[in-house]
Amino acid sequence: MMLIRLAAAFLLRRWGQALPALIAGALGIAAVETVLIVERALPDAAERAFGGVDLVIGPKGSALDLVLCCALQISEPRGLIPLEAARALVATPAIRAAAPIALGDNLHGRRIVGTTLDLLSVYRARFAAGGPWSAPMQAVAGAEAARALGLTVGASFVGAHGLGEGGEEHTEFPYRLTGILAPTGSALDRVLLTSIESVWTIHHHHEAEEAAERGQPAPAEAPPAATAMLAAVRSPVALAALPRQIDATERFSAAVPAFEMARLARAARPVITTVLAVGLLFAALAAATAATALAGTVSARVRDLALLRALGAHPWELAAVAAVEAVMLAGGALVLGLGLVLVLAPIGAALVAARDGLLLDVVPGAEDLAWLAGGALTACILVAMIPSVRAARASIEKVLTS
């Protein structure tokens, strides 16, 4: 107990040397833990965001784009697909449920997705309030969208053109909210759903208005089209063959969100490795700073340590003082570093959730904590070895005769 109090007193006495080690250690631990959290949480969040969507069928183009745009509702759509032909592709027993989606409008930045009620089956979504639409210009809100926009069942709203805020409002076509979905943790939570016919109606009207402004006749109604078709399979086995068959067609390409995320994770591996290396570099810097600080404090305390030997302390007890100091530094850095993560990670996660809709689980895992604590303690004990030996060899005679 006396050793602990003594080590604490020595650390406090020379806090100017201990503080840089503590800060560097905390930053290193925070950086490493952040990388570990992101590496684990991102795939989980993406998987949650996919909900029940196993397959996305869209126009020819990048599979990753298709996933980001239509499964995660993040990026812009690339084109349209003919609806009837797309329906024919998913009319197979391997598909459990499928629904088209048509993007193009928003309400204060929240996408209004034209679709069919089959989409609720794809996501296995349930209603928290109200029920599905039964007529054009009725809508259902995802849980997060309803919360963020303050929508309640029965509320009316007007969509705006485009996927971002600031587009022209379709004031002639107000929507009425018939239901609010229960949270699913998926991208569905962030959007508003309506019948695909409502979207077609609004867009045909918008195109007619634009043509009239140019003095041209209204364009003929286009054949039914959608941004993509989202599908859920009965068995993952279907994902082995179905995407290849769809890719082989002339007009469609298929993307499997899970595969694309795995590919993205592989592509991001060098970035993650780099950030992890930076974190470890911080940690190494912290260890070096701690070593310097401890060496400095031990040098400054040789008198005190020799004095303790003069008073009868065993050399191992002197070494223990340096070791206890190191452990205290490690513990302090660990607490401070994890404190930083616990405070800043939820803020970062909230920003990501607001921007990209990914719900990151940023609570440090027990395994992470065990590794970090073990790593920090090992580093500190290694760092404390040299000062400990110096402390144990401190000359009594020199001190007493000084």
Partner: protein, 226 residues
């Protein structure tokens, strides 16, 4: 772990400090001879000699810090130089109280912690009653929570004396304890040291060339050339 105040119960019969034919070395050569000593509990002796005559080296040898070239030093029945280093350190902590010229308190901790530390380092359980008694006796009870580096010189002296006595040692060795003090303070410190050692039943050996000390301590022995 024993209490710091429990040493008196296992104290050996006979002299507290005994030395015989001790020759001191400097740079590998014999340079001084410590007169044979035989101090009983409560007895006070001054060890004198000119500067460089080997007084401090003698105290270091008696404390088990610096080995003599030859001779035998027995502290409380144990030949201190027959012990291995760690055991010698521990024996010193338990049986020998040291009062240094510069006090050498542990600055980072309080007055009370300095006393507790002296017991802990010697492998003894600090005795709160013993500590309280010493602090009271030396008139520093009010300073018990003050950090050592915030004490005046006079206060630090008293703490150093209290620390030397906290484990009820058999011997107190003091090295030039009055060298930086004026007459009044030197006399006060000597009285304090002698009274405290006598009350604790410790033999007191003061290495000094200060005439004021020699005048007050009855028994004086002088260093001799080797």
């Amino acid at each position: 772990m024993r209490d710091a105040g429990a040493n008196e119960f296992d104290r050996a019969e006979g002299p507290s400090l005994e030395s015989e034919a001790v020759i001191l070395e400097r740079q590998g050569r014999a340079f001084a001879r410590l007169p044979d000593l035989r101090l009983r509990p409560g007895e006070a002796v001054a060890l004198t000699g000119a500067s460089g005559s080997g007084k401090t080296t003698s105290l270091l040898a008696l404390a088990g810090v610096r080995a003599p070239l030859r001779g035998r030093i027995v502290i409380d029945g144990i030949d201190i130089w027959s012990l291995p280093r760690a055991a010698r350190d521990r024996w010193r902590g338990r049986r020998i109280g040291l009062v240094f010229q510069s006090f050498h308190l542990v600055d980072a901790v309080s007055v009370e912690s300095n006393l507790r530390l002296a017991a802990s380092c010697a492998g003894l359980r600090p005795s709160p009653s013993r500590i309280a008694l010493l602090l009271e006796a030396l008139d520093i009870a009010a300073l018990r929570h003050r950090r050592a580096d915030r004490l005046s010189q006079g206060q630090a002296q008293r703490v150093a004396v209290a620390r030397a006595l906290v484990n009820q040692p058999a011997v107190v060795l003091a090295d030039e304890p009055t060298s930086a003090l004026d007459d009044g303070n030197a006399a006060a410190l000597l009285d304090l040291l002698a009274d405290a050692a006598r009350t604790s039943g410790a033999a007191l050996l003061i290495a000094t060339h200060d005439r004021r000390v020699l005048d007050r301590v009855g028994d004086v022995i002088a260093m001799a050339a080797a």
